[in-house]
Symmetry: C2
Subunit: 475 residues, 2 copies
């Protein structure tokens, strides 16, 4: 059934045609021979379009760009794509104890004590985050202390009111697709710093949810793949990377093999763990990948004939401690008539609703939409949801998480190459870890490493061997 | 190079010839056709003998049995093996601030305030642990609270003196091969309860370090494998498990494939994650496996012409907050003349010493041995160490860990079969999770599940399909 190609030879193999892998390939393709191997039948990785019956599309994966994400705006411009600002007018809703309250901005109008409590906790968090170097969070003088506790522990100690804690946790859920118990305080602080500040990550206009891309973010990947042409091979899951006696690497996929000098692994950490390396990766790298599980997120979108909530001066943005959909956005595309409501199921809620029937999940989501926006929301023209944890080649979203101990117990070497094996993907970024911008940044670094190595190699002769340090010793 | 067998057909395939997989196969082999597929060229998994130049052997993996591990003692007897009590006479040593102090039992003689502090914290821990049901730790009324914090957080709040905290952490390191920051409080409590109590897990005589097995624990696996004969195939790493149209399963390994009705996966969680399933495992199972990284341990053993420390009325047992070897034991085999000192490098220390040269690691370990037992310890006849994190088919020891959020955010379904795919291994045990006894218990449960299913199947007709619930919905 499977067509087997003869072994190709290139200088660089990129594993994974997500935005990171494609960007790395694009940066190298003018100077070097490059092959991108992608497991699925499509490029884009965690970026994907869903096409509605009326021909409109919507991002069921990563979708936003915002100020400070310079590489993303540059890429969008280079590829001739256009952005529009997410609809952010009218009032937001806080759904609390069965009641809806209107508010504007990121902080809802709640009782003054809870509000002050939340404000103080956020200010404290931001001050701590600002004091970190995102290139090396483990170097902070309190890094060990902050990495030994969960974000939940910190919330318990720093929010005195339950309401402030709940609202903070909604923000955390929306930003990390995880429970505050799943991530270390250090990682939460690093992550915020990596994307400027928690406020930036939570904000729509002026923040990380500001702009959308016409044609979808997946369209950017398709455009890059088109430029790369036959360098991109889909339906070619990489199973093994083997070093040959001459020091070159043989990348074996299900349809053949590609021989090369350098490999850039640009798949999520949990996926990288499933590739066999020969010689094996050193203990520190494997253990670090084990200690970077992916977040849990189901993205749910309902299409209506129009964005009817706008008539009621509502932004489409809801925060609800009760959930199960704890945050929503108006995901309608500018220039299209349809109204799209988007909501996230995250963390434990995503894990729960990932295990029920599609019908039950749909009902639970639309029930939330109806509670927030009235009965009209209960019967959309179309409904789609995407559980990234059920996708064999992703297995979680938005990004990998660092539980306590990972950053200070191995994370120091996260971005380091293993000999001729280099690492890209949003989890390997210094700035905007977890975002498309971070994926681009990590790809620039990996491409630069490869370029330097290939230049040195062409001068020096034999390639650098795969790092096999730290094997057991029988003396 | 590789011999390819035609597809065999059996009723049950067991993946992994560790003590769990072999026990499951042994329990089923009289009634059903069974095949055990093992990736390595040996059976035993995390149990392995090292043979010294003089012909003596030593366990470089799991080695102890103790009271309450009834299945283990029964297996040892059944297989005709013999145990001996670990040498536990004389004084233990506490190495503190560069000085050695002698003591007896598990609690060192330290200043009365730190001692009381440690005693109170341990008593509090034991009381909490006793209140858990090891079959369902997530059902405890405080489960969510305990699973939201690290054990380190609890130690910070419950040990007021640094010394008590350090000594508690030494015990945790020795029991979990992890830092207290890596595991959730709930997991630590569950683990202690699963093996009776923390005191049991820390103790030598009367506890989990009481007895050793002549011929090594790996000898038990070899004996089981011998009984199973050609049912056990080594050097056959399982890469894929595919469901065929008739509902049976095709287990593909590097040398061929075996068709069967039921599969028992009996490899560590991080290894199970690397097997491809078709149809794919549901999101909840994959995510749970992602959230169960393995501990980090390097076991280090030096052989001397005799156990010279005994002449000085020393037990060979040391506790040292400074380390890097924080605990040692007299690992000499009863009836042999050699003296063996064994020390563990664990958690962050193991990760560090897993990345240095074998010579540097050896020097650091022997430097500790010399500090504890005098200069005679610096120059052993032989030295061996084993970093289980560097082993491709194990990638960590002793067992998988539950970081915060895993037990309450998916762990509820840990032991549940996925259709015709059943789970065994010490991580799937109710009692003695992390111990050989737990591996045997999990194998009994998995074998009983398979037996029941095969009985029902022979009555009913078509086999149960692999569970594929919770896929994304495009409506």
């Amino acid at each position: 059934m499977r067509k087997t190609n003869a072994t190709e030879r290139v200088q660089v193999v990129v594993v994974g045609a997500g935005i990171a892998g494609l960007n790395a390939a694009r940066l190298l393709a003018n100077k070097y021979s490059v092959k991108v191997l992608e497991a699925r039948d499509r490029v884009g990785g965690r970026l994907q379009n869903h096409y509605f019956a009326n021909g409109d599309s919507v991002d069921v994966g990563g979708q936003w760009v915002g100020p400070g994400q310079d590489r993303m705006y540059r890429l969008i411009e280079t590829l001739g794509a256009k952005t529009w600002p997410l609809y952010d007018s009218g009032d937001n809703l806080l759904h609390l104890a069965g009641k809806l309250r209107r508010y504007r901005g990121t902080i809802p109008r709640i009782n003054p004590i809870a509000l002050a409590d939340l404000g103080l906790a956020m200010a404290r968090f931001e001050t701590m985050a600002r004091s970190l170097d995102p290139a090396a969070p483990w170097r902070h003088k309190k890094a060990d202390k902050w990495d030994a506790v969960t974000l939940e522990s910190w919330l318990q100690q720093n929010c005195r009111t339950q309401l402030a804690r709940q609202l903070f946790a909604i923000g955390i859920g929306a930003v990390f697709a995880a429970e505050p118990a799943e991530i270390s305080l250090l990682h939460a602080l690093f992550y915020a710093r990596s994307g400027n500040s928690l406020e930036t990550l939570l904000a729509v206009t002026g923040g990380a949810q500001q702009d959308r891309v016409h044609g979808g973010t997946a369209g950017l990947c398709e455009a890059m793949a088109q430029q790369l042409g036959e360098r991109v091979q889909v339906e070619a899951p990489v199973e093994r990377v083997e070093q040959l006696p001459d020091g070159s690497l043989l990348v074996k996929h299900t349809r053949g093999a590609v021989q090369c000098e350098r490999v850039i692994v640009a798949v999520p950490p949990n996926q990288a763990l499933r590739i066999r390396f020969q010689p094996e990766l050193p203990a520190w790298r494997d253990k670090l990948l084990q200690r970077m599980p992916a977040g849990s997120c189901i993205k749910c979108i309902a299409r209506y004939d129009k964005p009817f909530w706008r008539d009621d001066r509502l932004s489409g943005q809801v925060a609800s401690p009760a959930g199960p959909v704890r945050v929503t956005f108006d995901n309608s595309e500018q220039g299209k008539s349809s109204g799209l409501l988007m909501g996230f199921l995250e963390g434990d809620v995503a894990r729960h609703y990932g295990s029920v029937s599609p019908a039950e999940r749909r009902e639970a989501v639309l029930d939330c939409f109806a509670r927030y926006f009235g009965e009209a929301a209960r019967n959309p023209l179309e409904y789609v949801d995407k559980d990234w944890s059920s996708e064999a080649w992703t297995r979680g979203c938005y990004a990998a998480l660092m539980p306590p101990g990972s950053w200070t117990g191995g994370g120091q070497r996260l971005r380091e190459a293993n000999g001729a094996i280099h690492w890209a993907g949003t989890e390997f970024a210094v700035e905007w870890f977890g975002y498309m911008e971070g994926a681009l940044e990590s790809a620039e670094r990996a491409a630069a490493e490869v370029e330097l190595a290939l230049q040195e190699q062409s001068g020096a002769g034999s390639p650098e061997p795969v790092d096999t340090e730290g094997k057991s010793q029988h003396v």
